[in-house]
Amino acid sequence: MMERPSRISIKPMITPINVVLGIILAIGCVLTVLRFTGGLSVVTNLDDNNPWGIWIGFDLLCGVALAAGGYTTSSACYIFGLKRYHSAVRPAILTAFLGYALVVLALHYDVGRPWRLPFPIFWQQGTTSLLFEVGLCVFLYLTVLFVEFTPAAFEWLGFPKLREKIVKLTILLTILGVVLSTLHQSSLGALYTIVPSKLHPLWYSGYLPVYFFISSMFAGLSMVLFEGSLAHKYMHDKMDETHLRESEGIVLGFGKAASFIMAGYVAIKVIGLSVDNNWHYLFTGYGAWFLLELIGFVALPAFVYAIGVREKNIRLIQRTAVWTVLGIILNRFNISLIAFNWHLPSAERYFPGWMEIAVSLFIVAIGIVIYRFVTTHMPILYEHPDYRSDH
């Protein structure tokens, strides 16, 4: 590290981004106190008809989907042997780990008695519940991600022997990661298979787990692209040549993969529509909204991805990644909030309060601060000089 002084360059502390982050963090701390002393009703608009708000819809559902970059990237690199994606693995693992850690943090705000969160895993297992499957897999996967992430920390701290041991487990961890991700990504969708009477038929389907799993793949890929473009903008001085050299290939490869998977996703959504014979709903207001989601935020970006790949237009691909990520958020919001309880009169529907939104932002802000700290100090965007290309 010493011979790379540029990597620990200290940026000016008072930048607009830092000021905004600071304000969000300050407000978040106050809200945290309110939440844990006054109860959920003080900071949320939740009620008995709407027990899940944006802390589930955004923090849990979107958080987990968008952290899927970890398993997609590492399996592409290690299992499918696409070694040219190697420099994308570490940042993806880091974001996935951070993402899941923050999901778990957010759940502490959402559940009534967070100190009991280990109960379903260690005390009394509700094996008939899909939420149990989600909980168990998220818990295990967070552990796997943590272990996968430790080599970077060990390089930073200077524990070559420990690092060596973990690196040897790479394939095992990767396969475990894929299994656990398949299970919990899909069971997040399956959570809603229990409520055919509450979720709008256009979104309710027996295939929900499949939809969630497949959409998590392109969510993860797009998130890696999006994050990569941000990192290039703000963390450029932390990247080494390998990372910079490989990044174009990664953008093209991931864009192509995302485009294919999204096309497949649209196809199975259409199959789902036909199986349940829901075509007539398409001509209602919800139908228009559904088409906006499926065409405007999946089919179109898939097409633009393909164009971007064909023309080798990196910027276009990166913009499409943002578009796709927004589409995923829209989809998860539709299922958890907008199309959920659709039969209730509008007075009984849920709309998030500003404090709920602020807490969600607070959690994202924590993520950004930690990401910046880790990428500035640990070998994430570059390879540590002592361990070059032996992992």
Binding site: R35, F36, T37, G38, G39, L40, S41, T44, L46, D47, D48, N49, P51, W52, S75, Y78, I79, F80, G81, D110, V111, G112, R113, R116, L117, F119, P120, W123, Q124, Q125, G126, T127, T128, S129, L130, L131, F132, E133, K168, L169, T170, I171, L172, I175, L176, V178, V179, T182, L183, S186, S187, A190, L191, T193, I194, V195, P196, S197, G206, P209
Partner: protein, 370 residues
């Protein structure tokens, strides 16, 4: 990737085995069709008899020791609004105006104590339990407060203490489990002045309901609500007004909650069993590809080396040759030089000798001069 193949597969074998057992217990809970406890008790609510006096609400409030509401129970203006259950309200009576006949219909609402409760199947700590006597009871001591039970309940019954920061609970009607255990009637049933609520064995209740419908087909709709809804419920309803007009959904279907989720749950062992095998296979193939590529690379390098060898030999030979030539030339040069030098020397010697003789010839003359 230093782990040996066997060790690696061994780990996976172990993992899959544990996962499979875990999954099969999950199926035991979720996949097979559970017909409910046969001798379960229940309540029949004859909506035609209900007059909306709210006595049941009051009794429920008393027997469950809930906080008294702002408006007293005999204030019937409360009926003007459609209400649902809340954290401190386990049951409500709603009033519906039917058509323009100015006919009022009253319906009591509380937990239906489903035969295969969605809330119980959804809870990830098994906080809910369907008791043999029909009650679906809740165990506060394990509840995490995730509120998935509230999401899952098709009747929107469980409520939550959102304003309780330290020990928030899910609340709902218990079918008066503690009272029934003591041999008492549920509070609401006991309080009902019109016998609009009857407590009894569920099978008997269905018979009674059927009889009433058959006896007065003009007064009742031919449907016992709760007999099959969502797999059946312990509370049953009969009414003269279509249920959908009095706030009871008729589109719930007869599929119980556990059946709805059994598909995704049974996919678990498949994923856990198949994925590792598949992925290891893909990994092996891609690794083999790498290995082949590496071997090919090694061969290419070797070939290049061999080619280089040939070249080298030639060069060395040439150098040797060149060197030999050089040497020869050098020797020649040396010899020539030596010869030249020798010749020169000889010449010089000859010259010197000649000079010497000349001097010698002249010397006597010099001597003579002296």
């Amino acid at each position: 990737m230093g782990i040996s193949r066997r060790k690696f597969l061994g780990w996976f074998g172990g993992l899959s085995a544990t996962a499979a057992t875990a999954a099969s217990t999950a199926i035991a809970g979720g996949n097979h069709h559970f017909e409910g406890h046969p001798d379960t008790m229940g309540v029949l609510h004859d909506i035609n008899r209900c007059i909306g006096c709210r006595k049941c609400e009051e009794a429920c409030n008393t027997v469950n020791e809930l906080p008294k509401p702002e408006k007293p129970f005999d204030d019937l203006s409360v009926l003007d609004q459609k209400r649902r259950t809340h954290a401190d309200v386990y049951t409500v009576v709603n009033q519906f105006k039917i058509g323009n006949e100015k006919k009022h219909v009253h319906v009591k609402k509380q937990c239906n104590h489903c035969m295969e409760p969605a809330c119980a199947s959804a809870c990830f700590v098994k906080a809910f339990k369907k008791m043999p006597n029909g009650s679906v009871v809740y165990d506060e001591s394990v509840c995490v407060g995730c509120r998935y039970c509230m999401i899952a309940c098709p009747f929107n019954i469980p409520a939550y203490e959102y304003d309780n920061a330290f020990s928030p609970k899910v609340t709902k009607c218990t079918l008066c489990y503690p009272r029934v255990q003591k041999g008492l009637l549920p509070g609401c049933v006991e309080a009902c002045p019109k016998e609009a609520l009857i407590y009894g064995n569920r099978k008997e209740l269905i018979k009674i309901a059927r009889e009433r419908i058959n006896k007065h087909p003009d007064q009742y709709i031919d449907h016992i609500y709760g007999e099959h809804e969502m797999g059946g419920t312990s509370w049953l309803y009969i009414s003269g007004t279509p249920f959908s007009e009095i706030g009871m959904r008729e589109d719930l279907g007869v599929t119980s909650a556990p059946e709805l989720t059994s598909g995704p749950l049974s996919a678990v062992p498949i994923v856990v069993g198949l994925w590792p095998v598949l992925l290891t296979g893909i990994y092996a193939i891609s690794k083999r590809k790498d290995k082949v590529a590496e071997e090919e690379k090694a061969e290419a390098v070797k070939a290049a080396e061999n080619a280089a060898d040939e070249e080298m030999k030639k060069q060395i030979a040439k150098i040797k040759q060149d060197a030999a030539k050089d040497k020869e030339a050098a020797i020649k040069r040396e010899v020539k030089n030596a010869l030249d030098e020798a010749a020169k020397e000889a010449e010089e010697k000859a010259k010197a000798a000649a000079e010497l003789t000349e001097t010698a010839d002249a010397a006597p003359e010099k001597k003579e001069d002296e």
